[in-house]
Amino acid sequence: MKEVIKISFESAAENTDYDYFINGETIHVRQLGAEYDINLAIELVRRFRDECDAFAIYGFPHEIKLNKNLYVHKFVREIKKAAGGVPVHDGALLRKAVMPWALKKYIDQDKFVLANKTIAFYSGIVHWNYLNFFEDHSSHLVFADLYFSLGIPLTIKGIPALEKFFKFNSPFLTRMIFKGNSKRSFSASEAQTVGMKEFHKADIFVVHESQLKFIELNNLTGKTIIIDRLTPASEAKITAAGAEKVIVLFPLESSENLVSSSVIEAALSAVHDGVLTEEDILIQLEKMNFRPKAILNTTPVPLKEKFAFVIHPLSKKQIAQIPGLEFLDGTPLIDAAEKISGMLPGYHYCKITGIKSEATGKEVEGDLFLLPSTPKMLLSNPVEKVYSSLVDICHKAHVAGAKIIGLGAYTKIVGDAGVTVNERSPIPLTTGNSLSSASTLWAASFGIEKMGLVRKENNQHQGTCIVIGSTGSIGKVCAKILSKQWKRIVVAAPRPYKVLELVEYLKEFSPQTEIIGTTNPNKYTPEADLIVTSTSAQGERILNIDLVKPGCVICDVSRPFDISLEDAARRPDVLIIASGEVELPGKIKIGKTIGLHGETVYACLAETALLAMEGLHESFSLSRELSYEKVVQIDRLSRKHGIRLASIMGHSGEIKESEIELCRQYALKKLQG
């Protein structure tokens, strides 16, 4: 049987013998701890060099290939010399290929794990061979090499600075004598200096398992640790430090023994003819079936999950409602205040607490951030400036512990509707448009019910519904949903070929419904019981309000509105709905006013809270595109967790039930007359 001897720099209490199977061969692996003593390590190598096929070394300084130079620590050089011709492997070849590969696989499942996060390395030089992978995902890499190696509490920022540090210190670092009892404490007061602030602030900490013995961890509460492999002792240590999540890149197991990369490499070398190359490693990797895994720390008392949401004043008047600025109300200073506040960064406005899922009992809490810009300022300021303010809020939210952030009102209209901000944000971002659309349709449905003028049979409204702007993203989703609820649906849009395409699609999607396509919505307006407008007409008149049937419900999803205030005022017999706002489950407390009554919240805020309740940390709704599947999914999730329609909103605020009744009376009168 082939034999691999693993010389570990650590304690002999971990010594063991086991068999490892690779490429159909059984390899006997003997692990010997050298008790943190290089002379013992060398003696063990000499003693066993005639009895083994390869050596695996563990816990010794890694070989670093920097540009064309290979830096090898003198301990490793001595071990290689003592091994004679027997190959000595430290697992570097394997790690170079596996670490980025495994991390890439993990990122496929958890896209935001690295995005725009500050990533800290207890020793960056140990990970030198694949640091560029981390750099591809985040520009904030910080290294504690100065402290880890030399005890100097300063953080190195960026790879070029790390390279300089290593080049300058390599004569010393490759000769440095280290002992098992020279532990570096990252929790000690000397590691808490200003120079180490950047390091401690990081979101993600990367450590090599063999380093853990030489480190006393800092407080990792709420942080993520990325590690190559995890022994029970390491897991206990990381968990005790409070890390929220541990991503294990290399969870290879052989019976009860955790196999290190150096052992796999040495075992491969034992069954391989000639010198092991990177190419051989890649071939082998394809044969190995392993997946990185994340371990969530369940030891600490679980914190309430947090989300964040961005709001802003919807008018100049609302600026004067910001605490401290009340004196501006009604004064000429309000115009200047609007301009000045449009230049200011966002800040933490208040908390929203008491949200509790009806399905799972999970509690979530929101941080509301206020960007003090009115719609006018948001739309007139340079887009980059608005992006930058929003990204700044995203970072603040992340630091406050939010797992997801939502954009309210006009902040999701600016530029590309959240796409760029999401790319730059350290946490997933959602515009909340899926639930906004769903709740608007809930409101339309509620309005139709209250007006009571359309008969319903077999769960289907026996009337006509028009969707204006139906080939747009929101219009198409509305058309699909309504085609399941109405007997007859008219889809209207300016381009005929798009209309034809949609009609064809809807006929197949809802074969029981009569589908009509038109480029002239006014033709069908007099027959419509429900009109949904979702256009980009920018306030241009798209509908002749005089032609609308009395008692019709118009759902104006467009921003700016398609139906002007004047048109709305002219038709008191028509119910014009702008949106549906919702209430969250639980005993909600909102720290300050957000412009809505009582416990009612914006649907887009509710979507963010809902995603937090569900633990779905993803950019659920982004851009101006809307997905039917997502609207259906958010509708289902809302029912599951207990989010309900709270009020329906018109162009100038909430529409009360008494107002709907009044509208109904006008409509009935007109219909009779």
């Binding site: 002999a12 209490a13 002379n39």
Partner: protein, 346 residues
């Protein structure tokens, strides 16, 4: 019972082999090739022994092991006594015997089909705790407590024994205290441990320190330190009793130390009186600055820790399972020990 024993030529091993052999056990002794002659000579009066050449430092322990069928198929109990005991030992020699040797024995056990009992001789020193009570179930994982390679390698070896227990083998860990000569005859073959102190007292006596007319001798010992000394015959009696009547648990550890605990200062003063240097000790505690000078006084510097260890070694497991096993008071056997020591010196 068919037994295999390592370390048979040592102080404890010789006595345990004799005792178990007299009790009718069939014993195989694993002896290094270079010691086989010595072993046969030591046990020439016993005819029930089998000698197997082997070395615990070798991976397979016994060469061509598959030809030694009775080892693989008949041995029911394994007593692993072989160790490198020397406080001054270098890391390498202590490691090869204590850690690697135990690792190899564990590896060997996996091949022994009839094995049901494993008795591993550890040491009370595996927990170099300064203060407080040390339980039999404790085994420190703090590698940085150790001040000598012997205790560190014994600790790591015990970790290996605990980690690699076999489901069909019942394991007992014997943790003896500091072993001294026979309580009746005072005889021993190893003059280390407390004997270093006897050497020191004799040195003082030779220097005519009494002429200095000092009543108290300053000593690097803590006033409340305990010294768990145990005569070898008592350890033999206890360990053989445990081997004959093993506990029911899969893994059990026993502190084989005297009770009541012996105060180091009292033991030393009694020894000085018996060595005809009747002085009181002036306990200074462990003065780190002076510790390196201890070898000048014929005491290894590594002993300083043990002379100042305040820890009390709890023996609840032992007292619960074997309440009938008792130890003599040291005042009763110390004269015999000193007498034998002086005879050897003369």
């Amino acid at each position: 019972m068919n037994l295999l024993l390592t370390g048979s030529t040592g102080l404890i091993g010789q006595r345990i082999v004799r005792r178990l052999s007299q009790e009718g056990h069939k014993i195989s002794l694993l002896v290094r090739p270079q010691s086989i002659y010595k072993a046969k000579e030591i046990f020439s009066d016993l005819n029930s022994l089998t000698f197997i050449e082997g070395d615990i430092e070798d991976k397979d322990v016994v060469k061509n092991i598959y030809t030694v069928s009775h080892l693989l198929n008949e041995i029911e109990g394994l007593i692993h006594l072989a160790a490198f005991y020397d406080l001054k030992a270098g890391l390498s020699e202590a490691y090869l015997k204590n850690v690697l040797g135990t690792q190899n024995i564990i590896h060997l056990m996996g091949k022994m089909n009839s094995l049901r009992h494993f008795h591993y001789f550890s040491s009370y020193a595996v927990n170099p705790i300064q203060k407080g009570s040390v339980s039999e179930n404790d085994l420190t994982q703090n590698d940085f407590l150790f001040e000598d390679h012997y205790s560190k390698t014994k600790n790591h070896a015990e970790h290996l024994v605990r980690k690699h227990t076999l489901s069909h083998v019942q394991t007992v860990i014997h943790r003896p205290g500091i072993i001294i000569g026979d309580s009746n005859s005072g005889l021993t073959t190893k003059f280390d441990g407390v004997y270093f102190f006897f050497d020191f007292v004799r040195l003082l006596k030779k220097m005519n320190i009494m002429k200095a007319r000092i009543s108290h001798l300053p000593m690097l010992v803590h006033e409340n330190a305990y010294l768990p000394v145990l005569p070898v015959d008592i350890l033999t009696e206890w360990s053989c009793h445990i081997i004959n009547h093993p506990p029911v648990e899969k893994l059990k550890t026993y502190h084989l130390v005297p009770t009541p605990a012996i105060r180091t200062k009292d033991f030393m003063e009694a020894s000085m009186t018996l060595l005809e240097l009747p002085m009181k000790l002036l306990p200074l505690g462990q003065v780190k600055a002076i510790t390196p000078l201890l070898p000048l006084l014929k005491i290894p510097k590594e002993a300083a820790f043990y002379m100042n260890q305040l820890a009390y070694f709890d023996r609840s497991n032992f007292e619960t399972d074997y309440p009938q096993l008792n130890c003599k008071e040291y005042a009763e056997y110390l004269p015999n020990i000193i007498k034998a020591y002086l005879e050897k010196e003369e």
